[in-house]
């Protein structure tokens, strides 16, 4: 579904990604791992168009979207749950969700029901300012908000950061369900528990390029990955 081919991107004069190819396919949730600063967040930002790419292509169902502005990419079905939550703190939970569906106009009642089913706590708190939610709830909101855009490709950048173990489990269950509905999931994650729970396929980045790739259960337990990724 989403195919990233030979992508190069960076900041200023520094190039961070030197030709990365990954893909996210429906029914095969993929996890991207790699040491700190290897460029995982950069990859997410480049796919969504927050930073320009220097070369390469981003194909969505075979069509190159690398020229589109971020709004257009969202319209075509790419949604990102950014690193560090990034909710709209002085808007209510409901308004945050409405913004999630911005590209489609107003969300339907069915969409709200859907969210209520996945994250009951959000339905309960829909009138509360998002900034006053606890960290875990904010993370759920960010996820729910991305779902409102009815994405075909869902990018998640370290959704477990700062979450208590129990909250991590909740997020894991939610993403698994979303993936099971046919959404292509690309997950950036350091938390092995969550990665194992969600991903069927894994990609390891090293010095701005793909170092290893394979089925998640094999790769995540292999010593080779530990060596490069965990830095032992």
């Amino acid at each position: 579904m989403l195919e990233v081919c030979d992508l190069r991107a960076g900041y200023g004069r520094m190039e961070v990604l030197h030709g990365v190819s990954v893909s996210a396919v429906s029914g095969r949730p993929t996890v991207v791992m790699g040491a700190n600063g290897v460029g995982k967040t950069t990859l997410c930002r480049a796919i969504t168009g927050l930073i320009p790419l220097r070369s390469g292509a981003i194909l969505l169902d075979g069509e190159d979207i690398s020229r589109c502005d971020p709004a257009e990419r969202v319209r075509r079905g790419v949604a990102l749950v950014p690193e560090g939550r990034q909710v709209f703190p002085e808007m209510t939970v409901r308004e945050n969700l409405r913004l999630g569906a911005y590209v489609h106009g107003e969300p339907t009642a069915a969409q709200f029901d859907d969210v209520a089913e996945l994250f009951p706590i959000l339905a309960e708190r829909q009138g509360q300012m998002a900034g006053l939610l606890s960290g875990g709830e904010q993370q759920m909101l960010a996820l729910a908000r991305a779902l409102m855009a009815r994405p075909r490709v869902l990018l998640l950048d370290e959704p477990s950061q700062g979450l208590a173990p129990k909250a991590v489990a909740q997020v894991g269950q939610a993403v698994t369900r979303i993936a099971s509905r046919g959404v292509a999931v690309l997950l950036v994650e350091q938390n092995l528990t969550l990665a194992e729970m969600i991903a069927r396929h894994a990609v390891v980045l090293e010095s701005g390029a793909v170092a290893a790739e394979g089925p998640a259960d094999e790769l995540l337990s292999s010593g080779a990955v530990e060596a490069s990724y965990l830095g032992h």
């Binding site: 168009g49 927050l50 969202v74 911005y102 855009a149």
Partner: protein, 289 residues
């Protein structure tokens, strides 16, 4: 016999609504785009002059005002494109200097076109309303009504329209807003258009009671910044309340203490308010995490 206090209160509210009307557009542009738009005073000035020119050419005041608003909207978007967009990535103070430069350029253009002489737009409505308790001119009532309408209009746009949702989202978190599929270009355009329109409306209405001249926007915009901060940055009710508060304070000081001290009094109150509430009346205290 007119009760002086009630009359002074009405005077203050009338003055305050002129401050608030100018402050509305400034609040919007600063609150959303973080641009300290000193050229807002020039939107105000041009709204007045364009209305004046058309009224003088024989046009109906309200029609002239509508056309002037349209013209200033175009101009506002142009100013954004030429003066603010290019320094988007620079430190915020560079934005302030480019705003000052833009306002010099606009003032001087008006100076070349119309000259520096003060003039007043023939008022569309004249006469005063005399009640047993106070006197107020119809024009003042129109200004107050326009303030309420404009504030309500902006509130509705921000809180009821999808566009408003987008504008507020950009104000709170630009990157996240982009991820929602909001087009920065549209939001920027809309914000500047609404801001400039508010400035032009204020200019046309106030130009029908006050003298207009190329530098007429300078003092109102300073006052508007004071109002912005008094009310709490980015707060719409704050801008309205802050404007009215400043107007009433100035009038009370001038009316009961001394006209010579009205400025000192007003700014002393500003200082006092900020000492007691450093975030303004409606502003949120910043939380450190």
């Amino acid at each position: 016999m007119i009760d002086l206090f009630v009359q002074q209160l009405v005077n203050g509210l009338a003055l305050g609504s002129t401050y608030a009307l100018v402050a509305l557009g400034l609040t919007l542009i600063f609150g959303v785009l973080l641009i300290p738009n000193f050229a807002h005073g020039e939107f105000y000035m041009l709204g007045a002059f364009l209305t004046y020119a058309m009224v003088l050419a024989g046009m109906n005041f309200w029609l002239a005002m509508a056309l002037a608003v349209g013209a200033v909207i175009l101009l506002g978007c142009l100013v954004d494109r030429l003066a603010f967009k290019p320094v988007e990535q620079a430190p915020p103070l560079s934005m302030m200097i480019s705003a000052l430069a833009a306002s010099i350029i606009l003032q001087q253009s008006a100076m070349l076109i119309w000259g520096g002489e003060a003039r007043t737009i023939p008022a569309p409505v004249t006469g005063v309303l005399r009640t047993p308790f106070f006197i107020v001119t119809w024009m003042q009532l129109i200004v107050m009504a326009s303030l309420l309408l404009a504030a309500a209009g902006v509130w509705l746009v921000l809180n009821r329209l999808r566009l408003g949702l987008a504008i507020r989202a950009v104000a709170q978190n630009r990157d996240a807003a982009l991820l929602m599929g909001i087009s920065m270009f549209q939001v920027r355009l809309a914000t500047f258009a609404i801001g400039a329109a508010l400035g032009a409306i204020a200019g046309a209405l106030l130009g029908a009671t006050f003298p207009i001249y190329p530098t007429m926007g300078v003092n109102p915009v300073l006052k508007a910044f004071v109002v912005l901060v008094l009310g709490g940055i980015g707060s719409l009710p704050g801008a309205v309340f802050g404007g009215l508060f400043l107007g009433v304070v100035e009038v009370m000081v001038a009316g009961y203490i001394s006209s010579e001290l009205s400025d000192i009094g007003a700014f002393a109150i500003l200082v006092a308010v900020l000492l007691l509430r450093p975030q303004g009346f409606f502003g949120q205290a910043q939380v450190e995490r």
